[in-house]
Amino acid sequence: MHLRRNRTRALGLAIPLVLALSMSACGSDSDGASTKKSALPAANSSLKGEIKIGAVLPLTGTNATIGKDQQRGIELAVAKINEGDGVLGKKLVVDIEDSQGTADAAIQAAKKLVSVGKVSAVIGEYSSGNSIPMQQYLQGQGVVGVNPGSSSIDLRSTGELQFSTIGLDDVAGKFTADALTEKGYKSIAILAPNNSYGTGIVDSVSAAFEANGGKVTTSGLYTEGQSDYRQELNRLKDSEPDAYVVTTYGKDGTVINKEIFELGLTDKPVFDIYMSQDVPDADPKSVEGRIGMDVNSTSADGQAYADLYEQTYGENFISSFNGYAYDAVTLLAEGIESAGSADSAAIAAALPEVSKTYAGVTGPVVLDADGQRSEQPYVIAEVKNGEIVPQ
């Protein structure tokens, strides 16, 4: 009797659990990064041997779309390098492992690349919570790490072999604060999601804006996934700032933008950080006239790259993260070329020097003393007739 009950109990528990586990893979849709509209150029046949580096990307889990976009950036960079002279006369290979969007799987993935694949450099990840422990692990193993997607300032202190091709929060925060000061705003109220991305933005913008002599009347951190944000928005409104500063994305962004309009917050200027994350999904009339900042993908090299991306995958950028991954691969390749070997310490020594003259698809990537990107071109834009128009 109890045996049968146990059996049903076990099954009743187990089937939903297994389903829940497999669901985590659903973020990666069937239309893979490899589904190309036109094939990438073939590798130069005169290249002999291989130089292998690794990458750890969130190919499954909640950030699977970003991971897929990062993979596309890597594919394009590898194809471009191998179509030409390769690296040290050899073919460049990037071995990509899945981080499942979790810290322990990211560490295991990096372990496999380092311990089994014997790579001398690893690119990754996207979430700061995964990139930081992964870079700490890589540093301990004496392997170069390049972060193409996380922006936490804690990445500054992961070690001398660790680098970033994306500007960290302090770079984006300084740019935003300067733009707000230049527009003549004396006080701002900030709204951001309560996660590592949002808190990083709030801290860095507040610090830089206050250093400019401005005042932050209130900073609201919203819990993601709610159906209503009026409470948070009213708090912003009640603090009576000169301008509202918001950063949001996804489904939350659609709701927040609708409610910003309904509550009349649009009577004052609304400044949007990374506006391409939420403006395209918003009701056009709710975001008309909004100003904001975003990464610049319109440099000369950037445009050719954007065309190549569109031509290869048959659609425009699905996020702004493919470019940083592209720059991570290309910068590493130039570092290896300049070092004359794929030795980790030699690459790390060469990277800052190479970065001074490197023209990336996301703009110049000059690495500072901590190995972090010191400048990144952003643009100030405005929404006109539902389109984001750079000013």
Binding site: L13, I132, N194
Partner: protein, 298 residues
């Protein structure tokens, strides 16, 4: 390769301790704890917070163990007023509570950024030697946890717990203090889970609120169910199997030439299918629970 295998071993052992703890609650006593990750989080944060203030990890383990043990006993006592299904929902709420406190107490827990650079074990060693030493430590701890869990399960107290699972009214009528028994098993399991959390934080060298989502609990539930609900050895087997399954399938891509993102999707799908297969073929788990029948026949 050795380092990678040691990594798999360390993770498997960490998960096995977690599974042993959950098995005592769900498998043996029938307490559906959906908030297991709360106890893991308490242990992980205790070690990480104290470490960031320069306190030795052993103190972190002790503090985490005490807090988790008290929390476990209190949650166990909740069972006095809540029947099992409602109790299960309450545990889920408790886990979310712990996560939200971790998310919002910035000064204390590092908020959404989490706490990084938690010092690991054996910092005086490096490379393979360090991994080996870490693995040996966690394996020893797993053995201790296993022995404790087994003794509890097979002793008089364990039989009372099984009776509470099968028929709480009968247990009460035999003058067993059901609430106290539940509170004690919860306290013990919570201490085990917090030790597992402390090791997790030290091994990954990072803990953040995103690691305390309910998914982390469900993963351990799967290990316990696949291994065999109620069987102490089963919990370890389940944890080992699922860790090996997750990490072993990474090598599949080395044999077939497909794009990385497709390989990643297929890998998760394969894991799901294999687990379902195990459950359909062996509904009671790989190592089914043995309830002593000899005693009854005699």
């Amino acid at each position: 390769m050795v380092d990678y295998l040691l990594g798999v071993g360390i993770l498997a052992a960490v998960y096995a301790i977690n599974a042993l703890s959950l098995n005592l609650q769900v498998g043996v006593t029938g307490l559906l704890n959906f908030g297991q990750v709360a106890f893991v989080g308490i242990g992980a944060y205790s070690v990480a917070i104290l470490d960031s203030h320069g306190v030795h990890w052993a103190v972190g383990f002790a503090v985490g163990g005490i807090i988790a043990g008290v929390a476990g006993a209190l949650v166990g006592r909740l069972g006095r007023t809540l029947s099992s299904d409602y109790w299960a929902i309450a545990t889920l709420a408790l886990a979310e509570l712990v996560r939200l406190v971790a998310l919002n107490q910035d000064g204390f827990t590092g908020g959404a950024q989490g706490l990084s650079a938690v010092a690991g074990l054996w910092t005086n060693l490096s490379g393979t030697a360090r991994d080996t030493a870490t693995f040996a430590t966690i394996a020893a701890l797993l053995v201790v946890t296993y022995v404790v869990a087994r003794r509890v399960r097979n002793g008089q107290y364990g039989r009372v717990l099984v009776l509470i699972r099968e028929n709480p009214d009968l247990a009460a009528s035999l003058r067993h203090d059901v609430v106290s028994a539940k509170a004690r098993v919860m306290a013990l399991s919570a201490v085990m889970a917090s030790v597992c959390g402390g090791f997790y934080a030290m091994y990954i060298s990072f803990i953040g609120p995103s690691q305390l989502l309910p998914f982390a609990t469900f993963l351990v539930f799967t290990m316990v169910v696949v291994g065999g609900l109620g069987n102490t050895t089963g919990a370890v087997v389940g944890a080992l199997l699922i860790t090996v399954l997750y990490d072993g399938t990474r090598f599949v891509r080395d044999w077939i030439d497909i794009s990385a993102d497709q390989a990643a999707g297929i890998r998760i799908l394969v894991i799901g299918v294999v687990l379902l297969g195990f459950l359909l073929v062996r509904t009671q788990g790989l190592v089914p629970e043995k309830v002593r029948t000899a005693h009854a026949r005699r």
